[in-house]
Symmetry: C2
Subunit: 364 residues, 2 copies
Amino acid sequence: MKLPSTDDKKITRKDIAEMAGVSVSVVSRALNNSGYVEQGKKQKILSLAKQYGYTPHPVAMTLQQVRSRQILFFCKDMQNPFNVDLYYGMIEAAQLRGYLVLFNAAINFDRIRDIMVDGIILQNDRLASIYAEQYGKNYFLPVVAASFGNQEKNAVSIPIVEFDMYEACIRAIEYLRKNGHRNIAYAGPYPRTDNNARSIAWQNTMRNVFKDRLYDYFYGIHYSELGPMEELKKFRADYMNPFSVEETYFEKGKIAANLIVQRNTDATAVICFNDEMAFGMIAQLQRMGVRVPDDISVVSFDCTNQRDAHYPTLTDIGVNPRYQGERLANLLIDKIERKKIAYISKLPIKVFPGDSVKNRNALV
Amino acid sequence: MKLPSTDDKKITRKDIAEMAGVSVSVVSRALNNSGYVEQGKKQKILSLAKQYGYTPHPVAMTLQQVRSRQILFFCKDMQNPFNVDLYYGMIEAAQLRGYLVLFNAAINFDRIRDIMVDGIILQNDRLASIYAEQYGKNYFLPVVAASFGNQEKNAVSIPIVEFDMYEACIRAIEYLRKNGHRNIAYAGPYPRTDNNARSIAWQNTMRNVFKDRLYDYFYGIHYSELGPMEELKKFRADYMNPFSVEETYFEKGKIAANLIVQRNTDATAVICFNDEMAFGMIAQLQRMGVRVPDDISVVSFDCTNQRDAHYPTLTDIGVNPRYQGERLANLLIDKIERKKIAYISKLPIKVFPGDSVKNRNALV
DNA sequence: CTGAAAGCGCTTACAG
DNA sequence: CTGAAAGCGCTTACAG
């Protein structure tokens, strides 16, 4: 007997029907366990299917049934452990509802509509806004997005599950103040002209403390040497397209560390954009002999699974990213299944204490 | 005019044909830019398509064309930065050949055949072996796998791109010896009875040095207190199913660090299973006041993108994971497109020096 | 209990 | 240059 190989054609219900001497309808009913089939025939069909290693053709089934029970997480940065956590949260929630979560990190949106899924989860506000702009007119595929509290004009309103970074940053400042810190700096990967909620919250709050020296304490990584207008122009050119730049937060953390040392800051604490950037920053500070938290305290956002694979363990302000992932998956599946949904839901924000903040109250 | 909404049916080529007063064939030709269509009609069709935001139905196209030009990377552990790097390598290579790489980390294989792709890349030897066992009989979907030099009986021979960890471990020992180390320990996540190439290479090489004290220097994390036979039995029960255990290499690294301190080792260096485990181990050693590399040197495998987001920067023996990813994608696409392929290809292994190894030769 | 038929949305060779 | 027809692999209501 010739064994099947890659060169053979895949076996179909029609082939089995011929071998069993019945019609495809009967084969379908037998295989799907639906409708009537004579016992003997059913046995025969099942054993033929097994013998020839029949597997259904998912594309045909999807076309026929209109649903694939698969959803997509579109997110270009899987280096960031926060996104990995989001993804695992989605997988778990979706599995409970019979859905599979595919992931794609392609360089751009070009082929996102080619992926055969019932709906899409976008990783952030900006992607949501671009997606809406690009596809808003033919908006049939259900879409939801993770949000981080950044202002983006969405042509069409995409439902979001929000981790409000403005509030989180306020909480970070409060936490540091409670621990006796007054001069609190900020390190982020974007220029101060960006509409990032974290950066805006810090500027709004710390302007009172630093006055016109505010930006001496702002470690915005891009183009920090340019004036604000120039900075904005350059920024738009290469950043507004979120596909153009690969996010290397580690690198940006290193640059922030270098700036901190160069400027010989009198800040006792830095709020860092996210865990990934904080890891890069702390490692680089340590390389230069700066001790965390003894010389400078660090707080960051996200609370990723990698917090305690670093020393010292980061103090984080965050949500549980897995929970955000679960919420997103359920929101999307609800939308797909035409259930009632809330367009905006906010996640509770918590402080996750680590070892990267020094309590200065103890210092008499 | 009523705007389209999620509740409307998606517009099809048939709808456009009706509006334009032509047949679907003409619409197809116009949209696909193939065959003859009268200029005026073509214009009309294109503008109708635009107006109504027509997008082709990917499922129907795939069914008709037999190819989706999408491939799948199946890998359950995206926490491991090595796999993330593999994935990015695949994306780049695939993009050049017009393919999209989807990713899935589902809990098991159950629905892997439902995903509508032209082929699958499996993340390691064991997955390859299980996949072959489970689906070997109906082997129509092209499959390739990343290999790490571990012995697994593959019922059907799946083409591999290999990072030979046996050789890598020998290289690690050589490197450490060149740097004046003699007592070289090993820390891995699996018991010594596992067929892991790294562990076997270390045992084969270091047995001469440690003699019957060999296992005092083996920080195999599972069941280390059990005898080898008991260990093997328990191990099989919960590990042989690679879906049953979530790989928490960070945690295992922590446990290894605790064992190192507990046993008060006289090893001057540890070879660690992979970067992720090394990160967890080093952080924990630092928490307990052990200095790396001053008190103990560390070498690991993989060479992931996160090496220098930690202090000290890891010394790695590795391949370029992005390159391995590229090779895998190209291998799979070659197979899909029925080109000639090599069933086994080995990657060149290199030493990537960091700051985690002390040169003891300098110590007179 | 069974099978012919229509249909999911698309493509493409072929007769006009 | 055009359109009816067959087909990709499956499902399901319906007449027997």
